[in-house]
Symmetry: C2
Subunit: 401 residues, 2 copies
C-alpha cells in the first residue's frame, strides 16, 4: 500500500461534471489499495469572481482580508469534491489549510509554509477516509488565514507529500505532461517520460508554466517524486525526479516567455557604481531583473539593457528615469514587444555547440537576436515578440526532428 498525494487545479474542478471526474480518479486510486490525500484549488474562475467582488468595494483592502476572502474558494471546492467522493460510495473528509496542519509565515497573499503537522490527515486516513485538503492556504502564528500566492496549491501538495513521506505526488493539469515545447504551438513537441528537478526548474522559470517553481524546489529539497499528468486523458505523465534518463538528451525542451519587457538606458556615463545604484533602486522596489546586457563604453558613455516582468516595466522606468537622467544618461526606453526563448537541458553541460546550434536555427529562420544569457543548463535569447512562435518551432525542429 502506497501513500499518494494528488493535486487538481482549478480547471480540473471547474464544474460538477469535472468534480465527478476528479472523484473517479481519486476513488480509483483508493480502490487500488492506496492511501490518498487530494489537494484542490478553487473552482475555475471563482478566484476571479471573488477578486471582482473586492475590486468593487476596496481595491486597496488589507492583505489579511484579501486572504480571508480568497480562502473561501478552496473551501467550496474541497466540500464539493468530498461530496462527489461520497456519491461514489467512499468515505471522504475535507480539511481546510489550518485543519490540515499548514502553519505559514504571516506575509499575507504570499505566505510561506513553515511547517505541516499532518496528524489530522493521518488520523482521517487511518479511519479509511479519502482526505481532501484545501490547497493554497494556511494559518499564521497569529491565527489568521493566509494564502500562499500564485501556484500555491502545487506547493501545498508537495509539502504534504514531504511531511508524510508520500510515495508519489501527482500534479494533475490540463496538459499530459512536460513537453519539449508547447504542444499547442509546435506540432512535433514530444512528451518527456522523465525530467530532472533542475531542468524542470529552468523550464518553469522560463515560461513553460507546467509546475510552480516553489513546488519543484520543495520536491527537490525533500526528494519527492512528482508526476505531471492530465486529469482528462488518464495517460501516463512526466515523472520529475533527481536524475532523469533524459539527461542523455542534449536538451529537454524549448520554452517561450512573452511576459517580459526590455528597458534600455542609453548614454550612461562610464562611472563606477552607477550600474550598482541603478539596480539597487529596482531591488528596493522588489523588481526582479533578468537578462542584463551592457554595451562596451565609448566616449565615456555606455548603454545598459535589461529585462523585467512586463507588469513591472513602467514602474521600473518611473523608478529610474529622474535618477538616470540627472546623472547624465541620455534616455530610457521601454520595449514590451519582446520574447525570451530558452533551451534547457542538463545534457548541455557536457556537450559543446548547443548554443551555436540554437543560434543557427534562429539565423536560418531570419530572426534577429537582441540579447543572450546562458547558465549551466540553459541558453536564453531575447527576440521580437512577433517572432516568438516561429523561433520556438525552428529551434525545436533543429534539436528534435
Amino acid at each position: 500500500m502506497s501513500l499518494i498525494v494528488q493535486k487538481f487545479g482549478g480547471t480540473s474542478v471547474a464544474n460538477a461534471e469535472r468534480v465527478m471526474n476528479v472523484a473517479k480518479i481519486v476513488t480509483d486510486t483508493f480502490a487500488q489499495g492506496n492511501d490518498v490525500v487530494v489537494v484542490v484549488s478553487a473552482q475555475g474562475d471563482f478566484t476571479d469572481v471573488l477578486v471582482d467582488k473586492q475590486m468593487e468595494i476596496n481595491p486597496k483592502a488589507s492583505r489579511r482580508e484579501q486572504d480571508m476572502l480568497l480562502a473561501a474558494g478552496e473551501q467550496i471546492s474541497i466540500a464539493l469534491l468530498a461530496m462527489a467522493i461520497e456519491k461514489l460510495g467512499y468515505h471522504a473528509v475535507s480539511l481546510l489549510g489550518w485543519q490540515a496542519g499548514f502553519e505559514t509565515s504571516s506575509s499575507h497573499t504570499s505566505a510561506r509554509i513553515k511547517r505541516v503537522d499532518p496528524s489530522r490527515i493521518r488520523e482521517a486516513l487511518d479511519r479509511r477516509n479519502i482526505v481532501v485538503v484545501a490547497g493554497f492556504q494556511g494559518l499564521s502564528r497569529y491565527g489568521d488565514i493566509t494564502t500562499l500566492g500564485r501556484g500555491g496549491s502545487d506547493t501545498s501538495a508537495v509539502a504534504i507529500a514531504a511531511a508524510m513521506h508520500a510515495d508519489l505526488c501527482q500534479i494533475y493539469t490540463d496538459v499530459e505532461g512536460v513537453f519539449t515545447a508547447d504542444p499547442r504551438k509546435v506540432e512535433n513537441a514530444k512528451k518527456l517520460d522523465e525530467i530532472s528537478y533542475d531542468e524542470m526548474l529552468e523550464l518553469a522559470t522560463l515560461g513553460a508554466q507546467v509546475l510552480n517553481n516553489r513546488s519543484v524546489e520543495m520536491a527537490k529539497k525533500y526528494n519527492i517524486e512528482l508526476e505531471v499528468l492530465s486529469s482528462l486523458t488518464r495517460a501516463k505523465g512526466t515523472i520529475v525526479k533527481e536524475k532523469s534518463k533524459m539527461e542523455k538528451m542534449l536538451i529537454s525542451g524549448v520554452a517561450k516567455d512573452t511576459d517580459i519587457a526590455r528597458i534600455s538606458v542609453t548614454g550612461v556615463p562610464n562611472n563606477p557604481g552607477i550600474a550598482f545604484k541603478m539596480f539597487s533602486k529596482l531591488s528596493k522596489k522588489d523588481i526582479n531583473v533578468d537578462i542584463i546586457l551592457q554595451s562596451i563604453g565609448h566616449d565615456g558613455k555606455k548603454d545598459i539593457s535589461f529585462t523585467v516582468a512586463k507588469s513591472r516595466g513602467q514602474e521600473a522606468v518611473d523608478a529610474l528615469k529622474d535618477y538616470m537622467e540627472s546623472h547624465g544618461a541620455s534616455g530610457i526606453q521601454l520595449d514590451e514587444n519582446v520574447a525570451k526563448i530558452s533551451i534547457v537541458g542538463a545534457g548541455m553541460e557536457s556537450h559543446a555547440g548547443v548554443a551555436t546550434k540554437m543560434f543557427e536555427a534562429l539565423y536560418d529562420a531570419q530572426i534577429n537576436i537582441q540579447m543572450i544569457s546562458t547558465s549551466e543548463i540553459k541558453v536564453s535569447v531575447l527576440i521580437d515578440a512577433v517572432d516568438a512562435d516561429k523561433a520556438v518551432k525552428a529551434i525545436h525542429a533543429k534539436f528534435f526532428d
Copy 2:
C-alpha cells in the same frame, strides 16, 4: 462607551453598494465612541448558489460536508465588509466562527452553541478594531466546521452579546421593526416601540418571522436588550426586552402563518391510548404537532384533527394511515389550504374578552373558524387560507383602529 453588537442579514450585504451602506452604519456607531462587533450572514442568495452546486453533485452529501460548503458564504461576506470598513478609513478585523470562539455541538447543519470564548474578539476591540464576525457557524469539539441552521446568524449575534455583556444587540433587517401586523398587508399596521421577549417569541413562532426564535430565547435567558431595525432607513426600531410598556396594550400584534396543514382522522375508536400512540408515531419522526382538536365521541367513535408544518403534512399522513385504519379509524384527510391567525399580547392575561373580540371580528367578516387554540398570551384560530389576509385586516382593525 458602550459595547454594541450589530447583526446584518443576507439582503443587507447582497451587493457592493449594500455592503458599503452597512460599513457606513457600523463606522458611524464606532465614531460615536462605541466598541462595535458586527455579525453578518452570507450575501443575498449566495447560500442558494452553494446549495445548487451541491445538488448537482450529491443531494445526499454528508452534513459535515454541507457545513464545510455553506460556511464559505459568511467567510466571503465578512471579508468584504471588513474591506468596506477599511475603505472608510477604519481598522477592521474579520473573524470566522471558530476564530471568534464559537464552540458548538457536533450536530451538523443544526448545531447548538455550547460556549463562546470571546477573548480574540476582545483583543481585537482593545486594539481599536471594528470586529466583523461570521454568523451562522462554529466549530465542534472534533475541530469540524458546523453551522447553526436557519436564522443562525441572529443567534450568533445574541450569543456574542451575552458572552461579552454587550449593552445592546441590534438586529438589522429589511423591515423597520416589529409591527402590529404585516405592514405590506395591513395598511394601519403600527410599529411597536417595545415588545417583551415572551410576546416576541409567540409572534416569531406564529409566522411573523422578524427574529429567529432561538435568538429571542437566548436574549431572554441572558437578559440582552435587542433592537430590531432596518439597515436602509436608519429609523429607530423596536426594542425587545424583559418587560415592555406595551403590556398596557391589550395585544401587541396579529400574525399569520400559512405554512401549515390540517390533518383529520375520522371515526377513531374511543379507546384509551389511541391518541397517545398516534402522536408518538409523529414525534418519532420529529414532526411537531401544533393545534389539536378532538371531537366529543359518540357511538364509541371520535374525530381527531391537528396541524403540522405544511412540508411535513404528507409524511404525517403516511406515518399514520395504515396504523389508524387497521385500528378502526374510517379515514384520514390532509388539508393544505388552511391558515393560522393569531393575536399575541401580554395584556390579555389580565383582560377578559380578548378572544371574544377576535371571534367577533371574524364573524363580522364572515370568516369561518375551524379550530381554536389559546395560551396565556395568545389566541390562535385556524381558517381557510383564502381568508387569511382578510382575517388579519379585520382583527387588526378591531383592536388598533
